[in-house]
Symmetry: D3
Subunit: 158 residues, 6 copies
């Protein structure tokens, strides 16, 4: 390992790090992120959620499916048997912000932080795609890990 990185060997070559010697433990991760959509889109999203044009419902399905593709997208990520996945939202209507939360659980030798973050990113991208005909100035921001539990490095809270 070089420079504190875990995905490079001593020569600096990328490597999917060896986790075979680690213990299997229950692991959870929660990630979050927001998309600034502005007033017009916020109004349309709210209408849709209760009546028709369910942007947030479609984005939730995409986010959950995206979680299962994490190890295909992130080169050094280990494939993991996802045991639970959910996507939730908070709407800050005053500021025109939709905040997504993705929660993932597994039982494995490495954690699901990347899975939770990928779930958030795909959820936000799908909201963008569903709303971009109205306005393309949306900005995705403040995407980070909220907390993780399990594993040798212990719990983490942002």
């Amino acid at each position: 390992m070089s420079q504190g990185f875990n995905h490079f060997d001593e020569n600096g070559n990328a490597v999917m790090v060896d986790v075979s010697g680690k213990n299997i433990t229950y692991r959870t991760a929660v990630a979050t992120g927001e998309i600034h959509v502005g007033e017009a889109i916020m109004e349309a999203v709210k209408e849709g959620s209760v009546k028709k044009g369910d942007v947030l419902g479609v984005a939730r399905v995409a986010g959950i499916m995206g979680v299962k593709r994490t190890s295909e997208l992130i080169p050094m990520c280990h494939p993991l048997p996802i045991q639970k996945c959910s996507v939730d939202y908070e709407l800050d209507e005053i500021n025109g912000i939709i905040r997504a939360f993705c929660t993932v659980k597994t039982e494995g030798k490495t954690g699901v932080e990347m899975e939770a973050l990928t779930g958030v990113q795909v959820t936000l991208l799908t909201i963008y795609d569903m709303c971009k005909a109205i306005d393309k100035h949306m900005v995705m921001s403040n995407i980070h890990l909220v907390e993780k539990t399990g594993g040798k490095s212990g719990d983490f809270h942002f």
Copy 2:
């Protein structure tokens, strides 16, 4: 179409919108986004890029490959024949920020905005994954379309 959305029909049902009547034109899109990594990671990333542990090189490959998976990840996204794709970086060393830019070109009936944004997200996620052993407080922010050209709706500059 309901509420100005383009991916819902008149009953509010999600639909991959009909683009068969649109013209084939040259289309480009550039998207950007940043990851706030802090001082320790910035130092390690810079070292790696010139010597060993090439975080940005691995993330570039992942981003370009991610662009090609966009229509698998985003439910209502049309598959498009990507004709060019690149990922570039700007390093703001003072503030510990890595900024990624993804440029995509196609010739088609619909644009490559989602492809460029997906490329940015996968690039940032990979940087996160490669550096998370050092510090998990990284935050991804300010992810948006920079510009697009081609298509009926004309050019867009953020």
Copy 3:
């Protein structure tokens, strides 16, 4: 070609048939299929669609995404640039039957019959998955092409 099959060569070996000499034309296909769910599930599905637990909405997203994976699933199927895709439903509440319709459009050298049929199958499978905790006796039936237009072989109506 042997026995009238188009995906075998003269020695009986499977082959992705050569379509390079065919003309590019507009092509559409509609397929349908039904799932017999019984009374209890029909009741729950109807409730969900208007209030919460939107089985049909989730299945529609899955069906549309499945259409885009057709050439990955069916060995001799040509990849095609899907230009439109929608999934619609008819509910026969008396007999406890949900009928799905999948409509696909492209402009290409070969048709989208397999895409429309795959969309129906993935939609029905997803309904099954979402409802199987209530009752596993569901049966999928009567899945077939409804019509296609475009291409050398002309229009087809079931």
Copy 4:
């Protein structure tokens, strides 16, 4: 959980249900389904299986590969380590019907019913694709779970 569904939370939002607390047990599932192909195709399929143009052999490979993609296609489906998969056929020559059976085994926290059903669907779709140059009136029917063993809900026989 709402209405007896297991893939929605108490607010009716789709969720990949939490199976982390369930026991790992041996699980099997068998699903079946049929395709009505008519006399001309039945004749050709039979010829091909023994001599050339092995429709059923190609469809079997597709079905087994499809089983491994189940959790990519069905949104709320958990990824599972498939430990056995086979596809078998029964030919009802009198009525022009090919019946496929897909058997799947795993050791996990949730069952392989969806995998077996997906295997049947992809098998039938491939038969359709291989034979559609002869006649497009084929109908897929009577697709259902035959039996499953293992897991908390116990054994099931259709």
Copy 5:
């Protein structure tokens, strides 16, 4: 472009090269490769091909499906609309060698050399997998492009 490479920019960064300015032409590619299987496996493969256990048939299906995944596997490879794909074999029984040929056609802005080579590799890997219970000393060799036609760089014959 640096050093004559086409997939790096002037700074040496990997890039999916811009083909948008190139002409669409008919393009074909043929690749070949061999697997040295020895006498026992050769005997079994020959038996299987005519009677049961059709190794070469399964490997052909895998190879054709692999061709369609080329741009997912090779990072800088452009996605292309494959219009024809076949896999053929020559058996050198004296020396215990199976030789595979993969032929691919498209109409596009870039060639299908990588698709043909990927088809050969997946075909050979599948033969290996199907026969490895008999003997793991198989060696894959002499894998190369045989010829290509179309495109600005003209025809190529090995």
Copy 6:
């Protein structure tokens, strides 16, 4: 099982063989393969590795990602939880040969030989793709398993 093959049943039908009764053991596999690139490409690759245009770095990322797709590409291959993966190189500059080694670890009921071989093949294909603008006469050769450990059949050394 027929003829000593393990992926066919007693009727000669392809089957993903039942491994549910096998023990979970630590398993490793190393595979190797070479690409003959000639003098000009060897020179360019060496320059790139230390300065710009890092062919071997890009190919390593592709190879590791390819390992994770093995069970999607090889029809009868069981999906396995990869726990470690690395790709290393030896450069024979005199003879213009790049040799790749892929090492894979898992803990499972079946081995990772196919994963290691697939990693080698995708690595070599990517080197080919990155260098083919210079010269298309490259040949991939001598691809085989080097060793495996774990499992009922015991250790293997080529």
